[in-house]
C-alpha cells in the first residue's frame, strides 16, 4: 500500500503526523487539532460497541426462553393433537358399565403410564366392585381442554369433565370434574403420566 494515500483524508494526515513527529509542546492548539480524529474514532468505536451490545441484549431478552420453549398454541397442530389424544383417553378410562369394566381397564393400560397408571389401578379396584354391586354406569365427556405447557415430548393440560352417573332404576346425575394432566410423548403417542385435581 502507498503510505502517502491515507484511507480517509480527514483522519489520515492527523494520525500520520502525530505518529511520526513528537507533538510540539509550544503549540497546544495544534496538538488538540491533531488529536481530535483519534478521540472521535475512539468515541465512535465505544458508541458502536455499546449500541451493538445493547441491541443484542435487547434481542436476547425478546427471545426470552421461557416463552418460546413453551409451544402451547404456537404449534397449533401439536396442541390440537395432544388435546385430542388426552381428551379421548380420559373419556375412555373414566367411562364404564357394570359388565364392561375389563374393557376400561384394558383401555387404561393403553393410555396411562407411570404414576398415573398406579393412581388409576388403586382407584379402579374400588370402582369395579361398586360398579358390579350397584349396577353403576359412568359416562365421562370432556367439556373443555387447554394446554398450559407444551414441549417436544411433554405437555401439561387443564381439562374440564362432565361425568354422568347412572344407577339402574334411578335418574342419572351429572357431576363436574376438573383435572390437571401431565402427558408424555413416547413412541409417537401421548401417554398420560400424571393426573391431579385442581
Amino acid at each position: 500500500m502507498n503510505s502517502d494515500v491515507a484511507p480517509d483524508p480527514d483522519l489520515g494526515p492527523g494520525a500520520e503526523e502525530t505518529g511520526t513527529r513528537a507533538p510540539d509542546p509550544h503549540d497546544g492548539a495544534d496538538v488538540v487539532r491533531r488529536r481530535w480524529p483519534r478521540v472521535l474514532g475512539a468515541l465512535l468505536t465505544v458508541a458502536l460497541l455499546a449500541t451493538g451490545g445493547a441491541l443484542y441484549a435487547e434481542g436476547r431478552q425478546l427471545r426470552d426462553t421461557s416463552a418460546t420453549a413453551n409451544r402451547a398454541l404456537t404449534d397449533a397442530e401439536a396442541t390440537t393433537r395432544v388435546t385430542g389424544d388426552v381428551s379421548s383417553a380420559l373419556s375412555k378410562i373414566f367411562s364404564y358399565g357394570p359388565g364392561a369394566t375389563a374393557t376400561t381397564r384394558a383401555a387404561a393400560k393403553e393410555v396411562l403410564a407411570g404414576k398415573a397408571l398406579q393412581q388409576y389401578a388403586a382407584l379402579f379396584g374400588q370402582v369395579e366392585r361398586q360398579s358390579a354391586d350397584q349396577k353403576l354406569t359412568l359416562t365421562t365427556g370432556v367439556v373443555r381442554a387447554g394446554v398450559t405447557r407444551l414441549t417436544d415430548d411433554s405437555a401439561h393440560l387443564l381439562v374440564f369433565l362432565d361425568q354422568v352417573h347412572e344407577r339402574r332404576g334411578r335418574a342419572p346425575t351429572t357431576a363436574s370434574a376438573q383435572l390437571t394432566v401431565v402427558a408424555e410423548l413416547r413412541d409417537g403417542r401421548w401417554w398420560i403420566v400424571e393426573i391431579g385435581s385442581t
Binding site: 474514532g41 465512535l44 451493538g52 434481542g59 416463552a67 367439556v143 373443555r144 387443564l158
Partner: protein, 173 residues
C-alpha cells in the same frame, strides 16, 4: 511504518465495532420480526392478565358501601366490551344489593389455560378453575369451586375480560 500500522489498526478497530453494532442490530431485528415469538409472548401475557382479572371478578368485599363501590370499580377495570357495558349498566343495582347482602367473596384462580389465541384480532379464550371463599355477614365461611370460560380482548390497557361464562355441568356451552 509504526504510524501506518497504528493507523490501520485504528480503522480495523472501528470496522470491528461497526460489525458488532451491525450484528447486534440484525439479531434484534430477527427477534422483533419473529412471529412465533410475539405470539408466545402474547399468549403468556393474556394468560397472566386473564388470571388476574378472573380473580378480581370473583372478589368483592361487602363489609361497607365504600368497599362494595371499590370492588365494583375493580370489576369495571378488569372488563371490556359487552361485559363492561353490562356491569356499568347494573352497577347501581349491584351496589345496593351487594351492600345489603354484605357477603365477602375472595376469588383465587387455581388453574388456567388458554384454549385459543388470535393475535391479529387480539382475542383469546381462557378456561380456569376458581376457588371462591365466601364469608357471609353472619355465619361460617365456605369455599365454592367454580369453573369458567372467558373471552379476553386486548385493549390499550392490556388484556381484559370481554365475556365470562360459568361452565356448569351439562357443558354450559
Amino acid at each position: 511504518m509504526t504510524s501506518r500500522t497504528r493507523h490501520l489498526g485504528g480503522w480495523a478497530v472501528l470496522l470491528v465495532a461497526a460489525l458488532v453494532c451491525g450484528l447486534g442490530a440484525w439479531s434484534y431485528g430477527q427477534a422483533r420480526g419473529d412471529r412465533t415469538l410475539s405470539f408466545a409472548k402474547a399468549r403468556d401475557t393474556a394468560l397472566t392478565e386473564g388470571r388476574r382479572h378472573l380473580a378480581t371478578l370473583n372478589t368483592l368485599d361487602g363489609k361497607s358501601a365504600r368497599r362494595v363501590d371499590d370492588g365494583l370499580r375493580a370489576w369495571l377495570d378488569s372488563s371490556t366490551g359487552p361485559l363492561h357495558d353490562e356491569l356499568a349498566r347494573t352497577r347501581k343495582a349491584d351496589a345496593k344489593s351487594l351492600t345489603t347482602a354484605g357477603d365477602t367473596a375472595r376469588g383465587k384462580v387455581t388453574s388456567a389455560a388458554l384454549t385459543a389465541l388470535d393475535e391479529r384480532t387480539g382475542t383469546a379464550e381462557l378456561i380456569a378453575t376458581v376457588d371462591v371463599e365466601v364469608t357471609p355477614r353472619s355465619g361460617a365461611a365456605g369455599t365454592q369451586r367454580k369453573r369458567f370460560g372467558a373471552t379476553l380482548a386486548r385493549t390499550a390497557d392490556g388484556w381484559k375480560v370481554k365475556a365470562l361464562t360459568a361452565i356448569g355441568t351439562g357443558g354450559g356451552r
